[in-house]
């Protein structure tokens, strides 16, 4: 038995590190246990071929909450930016690319009417995103068994809604549950613009543009702008550097981080946690255990469903958490050439989503556990801004691929080559000749992401961001305010409110909840 900690925190992902830092600052003795050799979780840099590194999961930083960044003083702990305020460019096979930066769009034969409509749409959705941001900054209120804190949050949100004015309020209530496809059709004509925005609404999700609740997904992303991120940003050294900076900040606050220390179980007795047991058998006792792992991993693997009541076990088993997103990494011997794209534009965010039906068809496949034959892509060439990620003169291309199933018929090994080839061909339609530049490649399927980064189902958000699994429903009823099933057991990861994306809010909110409950925790 190791000496007593106040808090044992499972997983040094970004939310875990944020949570640990706040807890340590509040005077708790915190031990963070991480299975991998590096901290950061999904905020990781991965050397996928000798000399070639890339952000393994998330590749853009565009949602980190400013308070979290400030409180953790990340820039003092080594965080550097390779590029900020990047634009999104929706690629066109014929080179008529459409560029979006904030509320401004150009190219892609956009009409003046569409540009104006987009400005208006952007302003309106920013107002909606602000309201959502407020909801994200607090724990999700309970509705019936609400206490004072919950009622205050509800009143704040209610007032925020009312203050928006009648038109905005009724419009928000109308669109919040519906799909991007319809809202896009209501607002715009330009197919590329509609494709780009609808892809934003469903990245990392198991949804198509026609899936109701994708408007919520879009606003969810737009919250990043409310948090001060004008466009996408790229971290120097890859996302792993963010993880390192957070770990450094945590250590500075007094957090002890143990790497290569996989937790085998979260131990419980008579309705409360007692500590954790490591894979090597070491037992660590702690009155509070915080899990940064996804809810399914936490309850199914670490706590064990047999230690939960049946209703809770059932809810855990019913969490929708099947990923549909893959990641392709290409090591290139030179900078690729995209038709109609100037070299300076290659460092922007490049998107292949020519129209909404294209994405919808890509999504159709994954519904039946097949991969998209014409996938939608979110591409980054990080070496444009950060040469250190590849050998001199060489480059790295990283693409988020929608959609790839978690478990295709026959298993991934039967399809890995074909699918990699297919995605490369898809890119090559926009960047002819890129095939010849490829030195090495790596495809991370949802199954790979699950294995390497511990995300059940390979789902980026630790659980689908559907309306049935967000806000006061996240991750599942009975576990919505970070504490779940046992006294002293908390969730602080993307599976908890508000959800995935490198925001840091789940970690911060969880820490606040733990601190507030104090000894009662």
């Amino acid at each position: 038995m190791t000496d007593n900690y106040d808090v044992a925190l499972v997983g040094a992902g970004h939310n875990g590190l944020v949570c640990a830092t706040y807890l340590a600052r509040a005077g708790k003795k915190v031990l963070v246990l991480e299975a991998n050799t590096e901290p950061g979780g999904c905020a990781a840099t991965r050397e996928f071929a000798p000399g070639y590194s890339v952000s393994a999961c998330a590749q853009w930083l565009n949602q980190l909450h400013p308070t979290v960044a400030r409180d953790l003083a990340l820039e003092n702990h080594g965080l550097q930016w390779a590029a900020r305020e990047l634009a999104s460019i929706s690629l066109d096979v014929d080179g008529q690319h459409l560029t979006q930066r904030g509320d401004y769009v150009e190219g892609g034969n956009i009409t003046a009417a569409d540009s104006a409509a987009f400005r208006k749409f952007h302003a309106k959705t920013t107002r909606y995103a602000k309201l959502l941001a407020r909801a994200f900054e607090a724990r999700a209120p309970k509705l019936v068994e609400s206490n004072l804190t919950d009622r205050l949050t509800l009143i704040k949100l209610g007032l925020g809604l009312k203050m928006m004015g009648r038109d905005d309020m009724s419009d928000l209530m109308r669109i919040i549950l519906i799909n991007m496809y319809d809202v896009m059709e209501e607002n715009f004509d330009n197919a590329q613009l509609k494709g780009l925005l609808s892809l934003d609404s469903l990245l990392g999700s198991h949804m198509g543009p026609r899936t109701p609740s994708t408007v919520f997904g879009y606003l969810y992303r737009r919250v990043g702008e409310v948090f001060g991120h004008a466009g996408h940003a790229q971290v120097k050294g890859g996302m792993g550097a963010l993880g390192q900076a957070m770990a450094a900040s945590a250590r500075a606050a007094g957090v002890e981080i143990r790497l290569s220390s996989a937790v085998a179980s979260i131990d419980v007795d008579a309705g409360r946690v007692t500590g954790v047991t490591l894979a090597d058998g070491e037992k660590i006792s702690a009155g509070i255990v915080v899990s940064n792992a996804d809810p399914i991993t936490t309850f199914e693997r670490l706590v064990g469903l047999r230690n939960l009541e049946t209703d809770t076990a059932r809810r855990v088993s019913q969490i929708r958490c099947t990923g549909g997103t893959a990641k392709l990494h290409l090591a290139l011997n030179g900078l690729p050439v995209f038709t109609g794209l100037q070299e300076r534009q290659l460092g922007q965010r490049l998107v292949i989503a020519p129209d909404m039906n294209y994405i919808e068809r890509a999504f159709n496949a994954v519904k039946y556990k097949e991969y998209s034959t014409a996938p939608a892509l979110d591409i980054s060439i990080p070496t444009v801004h950060d040469a250190g990620l590849a050998p001199a003169g060489a480059h790295v291309l990283s693409a988020i691929v929608q959609f790839a199933p978690y478990a295709p018929q026959g298993g991934w090994e039967a399809h890995r080559e074909t699918f990699t080839q297919l995605v490369v061909e898809c890119i090559a339609r926009y960047a002819p000749g890129i095939e010849q530049q490829i030195v090495a490649s790596e495809l991370l399927t949802p199954a790979d992401l699950e294995r390497d980064y511990g995300m059940t189902g390979g789902h980026w958000h630790h659980g689908e961001l559907g309306m049935d699994q967000v806000l006061m429903m996240r991750p599942f009823p009975g576990a919505t305010q970070y504490n779940a099933a046992f006294d002293g057991l908390y969730l602080c990861g993307a599976g908890a409110h508000p959800g995935g994306g490198v925001m840091g809010l789940a970690g911060r909110n969880a820490a606040r909840e733990i601190i507030k409950r104090g000894a009662a925790a």
């Binding site: 309970k142 509705l143 019936v144 068994e145 009312k162 009648r166 038109d167 309020m169 009724s170 419009d171 209530m173 109308r174 669109i175 549950l177 519906i178 319809d182 209501e186 026609r210 899936t211 109701p212 609740s213 019913q318 929708r320 039906n357 919808e360 068809r361 159709n364 519904k367 039946y368 559907g466 309306m467 049935d468 006061m472 429903m473 009823p477 009975g478």
Partner: protein, 538 residues
């Protein structure tokens, strides 16, 4: 030209209900109907000699019993007969059937899965909880959450109150139910494909969504919240076809002194000085009235029979953005005898109910993919009924009438209009699907009427042939139906109202929109309401 107190445009069931309640309050009311017959989509027609086709809506459950009783519809000739049964045929030759008797239903389900058979009991209880929550609001106008009026605040408090009563856990179940796809919802209970497919169909009927589209669990509820004689969730046929419903409503209306004018094709609602003053017909006739009520769907109402000049710009854009998607078609077939279906005895009570051939959710979802791609489903989902097994009045003895509701059929084929060749292709995909399970089916066909969204729109006037006058998705329910700010039956012009299925609580031959609208009209006219309140659920 004669001046009426009120004119109702469209003699569908909601128009007639609305008119009946206004006439009952002593108003001088006329209903104008474009066709030479009344009923709208609640109609029985002899399209083949000696056969009565219930050729649009075909079954009855949602019709509010309070209204049927209050307007004395039974005395005016309406008899609703429950039918029971129902079956989904599997590709492997087996089937899954639906029995009325609880224990027999359990045994039938147990043939497929004992676990599912038991889970069905939990499922039924859980769905009943949601049904009980929504039913009291069917005969009420939806509160406006943006309003600060006393009446709205009170209604809103009522509404919130019934949610709170469910408790934290119950409320979570409700939120889950209202936001989930019917497919995901059913997967939380059942393991057997055919059972999920049989139950899941109710989540998409009349809706341009797939079984895995969030929000469809609510559509399922919409099909469960009716009752026949207090048996919630049970369905029946109207003796003589659905025309019996509109026929009885018409007689009730006429008994209150109302007037029905057929072949009266309304060109526009006349607005003078910001007030509705009457309607002008295509033939030039004009009728005057202080109150004009549209039973047409919101698109037709605001974009067709009203002048853009008379409307606030936001109403025009809201009407343009209103989702009223054609997603279904219909085949009405006269049969020389009762067809034989593989594996099922002709005398089986399962034959009396709704029959389907989609034995997995995936097949239904793939049918939806075709719709998204702008074509009819090659392997469609059908909801098929042979009402002449229950109703002896609709076909000669020994002969039968079959109604086949088909999903999906898009309003346009790849962006273009339906052609006759498309219609034939659509018809063939349905007939072939049925024939694959019934060896003698094709030989028994005497006559087949095929209705794509094109025909439904042209004849009944439902935009895109949408049977609910607008999608039953959350952006278009309750205080959002048809659109925010106009969900209390009042139009944007004084004296102009809406009473169709495009208003709360939506479609499905409920007659509630018509009754609720009448209550609001009478409220504005400062007349005592003639509309009954809903029965309290026990």
């Amino acid at each position: 030209m004669k001046k009426y107190d009120a004119i109702v445009i469209g003699a569908g069931h909601n128009g007639l209900t609305n008119a009946a309640y206004l006439a009952k309050a002593g108003l001088d009311v006329a209903v104008l109907e474009r066709n030479s017959y009344i009923g709208g989509a609640t109609v029985s027609r002899e399209l083949y000699k000696d056969w009565t086709y219930t050729n649009c809506s075909y079954v009855c459950s949602l019709l509010r019993p309070e209204i049927a009783r209050d307007l004395e519809l039974p005395r005016h000739g309406l008899q609703v007969v429950p039918y029971g049964g129902g079956v989904t045929f599997k590709r492997d030759g087996d089937y899954y059937g639906n029995y009325y008797d609880h224990n027999r239903q359990y045994r039938e389900m147990s043939r497929h899965s004992k676990r599912d058979a038991n889970a069905y009991e939990r499922y039924t209880a859980d769905v009943m909880k949601q049904t009980r929550l929504i039913r009291p609001f069917l005969l009420k106008r939806p509160p406006d959450p943006t309003s600060l009026k006393l009446r709205d605040l009170r209604d809103l408090a009522d509404f919130a109150g019934s949610f709170m009563e469910m408790g934290e856990r119950g409320l979570a179940d409700t939120l889950k139910f209202w936001t989930k796809s019917v497919g995901d919802y059913l997967c939380e209970y059942f393991e057997t494909d055919v059972i999920k497919a049989h139950l899941g169909g109710s989540g998409i009927i009349g809706t341009a969504l797939g079984v895995f589209s969030p929000g469809t669990a609510y559509v399922l509820l919409h099909h469960y919240m009716g009752d026949v004689d207090g048996n919630v969730g049970s369905w029946g046929v109207a003796r003589g076809g659905m025309g019996a419903v509109s026929g009885a409503l018409a007689k009730s209306f006429q008994a209150f002194g109302g007037e029905i004018i057929c072949d009266a094709d309304v060109d526009r609602i006349v607005v003078r000085g910001g007030k509705a003053t009457g309607v002008a017909l295509k033939n030039g006739d004009e009728y005057h009235a202080d109150v004009v009520v549209s039973n047409l769907d919101p698109k037709r109402t605001f974009l067709d029979v009203m002048d853009v000049q008379d409307l606030p710009a936001e109403v025009v854009s809201k009407a343009e953005n209103f989702k009223i998607r054609g997603s279904s078609g219909k085949l009405n077939i006269a049969l020389d005898g009762l067809p034989t279906f593989h594996g099922l005895d002709k005398s089986s009570p399962l034959m009396l109910g709704d029959m389907h051939f989609s034995d997995s959710l995936e097949r239904i979802e793939r049918a939806y993919d075709d719709w998204k791609d702008g074509t009819w489903s090659k392997d469609p989902y059908v909801d098929m009924l042979i009402p002449t097994q229950t109703d002896p009045s609709m076909a000669p003895p020994g002969k039968h009438m079959m109604t086949v509701f088909v999903q999906y059929a898009p309003p346009k084929i790849n962006g273009g209009e339906w052609t006759d060749a498309d219609k034939d292709g659509f018809e063939k995909s349905v007939i072939d699907q049925i024939a694959a399970h019934s060896p003698d089916f094709k030989d028994l066909i005497l006559h087949c009427e095929t209705r794509t969204p094109r025909e439904i729109e042209a004849e009944v006037g439902l935009t895109e042939g949408n049977i609910f006058q607008g999608e039953l998705t959350f952006d278009q329910l309750l205080f959002n139906r048809p659109f925010p700010g106009y969900a209390q039956y009042r139009g944007p012009v004084q004296g102009m109202y809406m009473c169709g299925s495009g208003t709360h609580p939506g479609g499905g031959v409920m007659a509630a929109p018509g009754a609720n609208a009448a209550r609001e009209i009478l409220h504005d006219l400062r007349k005592p309401s003639t509309v009954p309140g809903g029965y309290a659920d026990d």
